[in-house]
């Protein structure tokens, strides 16, 4: 936004369609492939969820169009979150 130059609106609708499709895919995956090992089920679902989250952040929150430093700022708590969960899980 701040660049001031004219950029055409990001592909909001396309992102929306992808999000919707991924949601349906997730639900179907979870409900239909119940035979899958829990681990792979989890990996698949997390993969899709993270993909969706990244899409929202990139397009709807405009991170793609922001300066790189904001980008770094936005990503900074993620390592901490991972450290906390991964370490504490090893406890049990």
């Amino acid at each position: 936004m701040e660049t001031g130059e004219e950029h055409k609106s990001p592909p909001y609708m396309i992102v929306f369609v992808v999000l919707a499709v991924l949601t349906v895919a997730e639900v179907l995956f979870a409900l239909l492939f119940t035979g899958l090992p829990k681990f792979w089920m989890g990996v698949g679902l997390i993969f899709m969820a993270v993909w969706k989250a990244v899409l929202v952040a990139m397009y709807y929150m405009h991170l793609r169009f922001e300066p790189k430093r904001l980008w770094i700022l936005a990503a900074s708590p993620i390592p901490l979150a991972i450290i906390l969960v991964v370490v504490v899980i090893r406890e049990f």
Partner: protein, 605 residues
């Protein structure tokens, strides 16, 4: 979230209008948005809490020095705290537990943290980076006015049925999950609610500081020209921003456990008490660095100024701040070595804890380096800053004992820990606060503090402080547990009675000595010698404006040409060279020409 909307308006206000000359009294002194006034508000409130915390410590020390003996004058306290006997009132164990808990809580959350972050953060950040106020002045006001009710709730908990929280400042579950275990019901809940509110207050403060430092620096104030005090407050704000929400989440879960019967931390219904400890210390260790980093920043500032010499290794000082901030996130397990945590994790936490000595070493040695071939003036702020350095060395080195897992087995939860934490918190943070208050007092009130009185206060405090806390190491080594109401219950601790009495007597002396400071402080506000703009001949921007600075701080936008510590530079005839003095022969190659910037209101160009 509702606040952010309003800030659209306030950001616009801050954008350039200088025309509020007629500020109504209530907006100037009570619901103030001026960062300097908010800083002072934080100062008065937290000094009050410092006195409260000190009084609680005094009562605790009485019990430890004279276990089970009637406390003079305590008869006025309710029977729920002090059991009346024919000879006088004797302290009850549940009241002792409340005292420990509230002493720790009040000192950490309501005294030291708001002094460092609320007072110095508000006072210094805008002034040192050349901004006219914080990015969100109204949010700043909200931050203060959330802290006040939080403090009142905390104090009120002494008066409720069952007394104040009594599970330690760490409130370990399951002890804290139910009044069944402690006899404290409402008090424990007030503790949780109060800290949650205070957490929110710190959080919006942190948002404000971070935005301000990133976006409001005066032209030429590049990252590596920011004074170390502001740098440390910036890193601290990041720690607050990311650590407090974890605490808030944990507090809320604990509150639910207590009030509505959930089972997060309650083993009797399948919950995990260790989860509380992990969440608490994941916040808690960054928290102790929140309490030391600004102190380090203040020390660097005072040390360099009073030594009339550039700080040794400015860049590595900044990097050390950042790496302490980062490493602080991966060491929390060192509080849990004996908690029943997976012992394999213990080793990794030990290594990371040891590693944190490295950036601390950089800071310590660089302070020493700053003094090398310097021109040292022993003013009151300098004396406090120097004792910060020497006391932090002691406190830090005692941390190494506990970081070593096998040694920690023996000294965990003994007075060795109590000694460590007071060396870093009192010897460290509080001495730096004394340094900071005396150093910036002229800027805040336009008057100097009384020098001889300040020196007497310093010398007595320094001596008594060491006599109180140094022997605690030895108590710990003899095996005396902490948070213990009556150590004479243990045969093997009975020989420690004289030493405990010794500590208690000097604790009383220490507390009494603080009256000198109280007197000096209030006397100087009204009667102190008038101070000019720059009594310390300092380089940083806050000293270029009148004392106290007017609303909006800078009459004219300052431009920054160099780093903050150019003392005794050959370029200047005097022994200092303010950041705003233009270079002698035109702009040097490195002097920052301000980059063009976006308009602050987010408009499209």
């Amino acid at each position: 979230m509702s606040t952010t909307e309003k800030d659209i308006a306030s950001a616009v206000d801050a954008g350039g209008q200088h025309d509020h000359h007629e500020i109504p009294w209530i907006r100037k002194y009570v619901f103030a948005t001026d960062h300097k006034m908010i800083a002072k508000q934080f100062m008065f409130v937290s000094l009050f809490f410092l006195v409260v915390g000190g009084a609680l410590a005094g009562m605790m020390r009485f019990q430890l020095g004279f276990p089970g003996q009637p406390m003079p004058g305590a008869g006025i306290l309710p029977d729920a705290m002090m059991a009346p006997t024919p000879n006088g009132a004797i302290m009850l164990p549940e009241f002792y537990n409340s005292l420990v808990t509230m002493h720790g809580t009040i000192m950490i959350f309501f005294a030291i943290m708001p002094l460092l972050v609320g007072l110095f953060g508000n006072l210094l950040i805008p002034l040192q980076i050349g901004a006219e106020d914080m990015a969100f002045p109204r949010l700043n006001m909200a931050s203060f006015w959330l802290a006040v009710p939080a403090g009142m709730l905390m104090l009120a908990s002494f008066a409720v049925e069952g007394g104040a929280a009594g599970a330690g400042w760490t409130s370990y579950a399951p002890l804290s999950t139910s009044g069944e275990w402690t006899g404290v019901y409402l008090g424990q809940q007030l503790w949780l609610v109060s800290l949650t509110i205070l957490g929110f207050s710190s959080l919006i403060g942190a948002v404000n500081y971070i935005t301000t430092v990133i976006n409001l620096r005066a032209p030429g104030m590049t990252w590596f020209r920011i004074p170390l005090a502001t740098w440390s407050l910036f890193v601290t704000a990041v720690l607050i921003l990311l650590a407090i929400p974890i605490l808030a989440g944990a507090l809320i879960m604990l509150l639910f456990d207590q009030t509505i019967g959930t089972g997060f931390f309650r083993p009797e219904v399948g919950g995990e008490p260790l989860l509380w400890q992990h969440l608490f210390w994941f916040f808690g260790h960054p928290e102790v660095y929140i309490l030391i980093l600004p102190a380090m920043g203040i020390t660097s500032e005072v040390l360099s100024n009073r030594a009339r010499k550039p700080i040794f290794g400015y860049h590595s000082m900044v990097l050390a701040l950042i790496s302490i901030g980062f490493l602080g996130w991966i060491v929390w397990g060192h509080h849990m070595f004996q908690s029943g945590m997976n012992p394999l994790l213990g080793t990794s936490f030990m290594i990371s804890t040891m590693a944190i000595a490295v950036p601390s070493a950089i800071k310590t040695f660089n302070w020493l380096g700053t003094l090398w071939k310097a021109d040292i003036h022993f003013d009151v702020p300098m004396l406090h800053a120097l004792s910060f350095v020497s006391m932090f060395i002691i406190g830090g080195l005692s941390g190494i004992f506990m970081a070593s897992t096998p040694v920690d087995i023996y000294i965990h939860d003994t007075y060795f820990i109590v000694a460590h934490l007071h060396y870093v918190l009192f010897g460290g943070s509080l001495f730096a606060i004394f340094a900071g208050i005396t150093y910036w007092f002229p800027k805040m009130f336009g008057r100097m503090m009384n020098e001889p009185l300040g020196k007497v206060h310093f010398v007595l405090t320094f001596i008594f402080y060491n006599l109180v806390f140094f022997p605690m190491h030895n108590l710990g080594l003899q095996g005396m547990m902490r948070r213990i109401y009556d150590f004479t219950q243990y045969d093997f601790l009975q020989p420690l009675q004289p030493m405990n009495q010794f500590i208690t007597l000097f604790a009383f002396a220490l507390i009494t000595t603080q009256l000198l400071f109280v007197f000096n402080f209030f006397w100087s506000i009204f009667k102190g010698e008038k101070a000019g703009n720059n009594p310390w001949k300092s380089n940083t921007l806050e000293w270029t404006v009148p004392s106290p600075p007017p609303h909006g701080n800078f009459a004219e936008m300052p431009t920054v040409f160099r780093g903050p510590y150019e003392y005794s530079s050959p370029e200047s005839d005097d022994d200092f060279l303010p950041q705003t003095t233009p270079p002698r022969e035109g702009p040097g190659p490195s002097s920052g020409v301000p980059e063009p910037t976006p308009t602050p209101e987010g408009a499209e160009a």
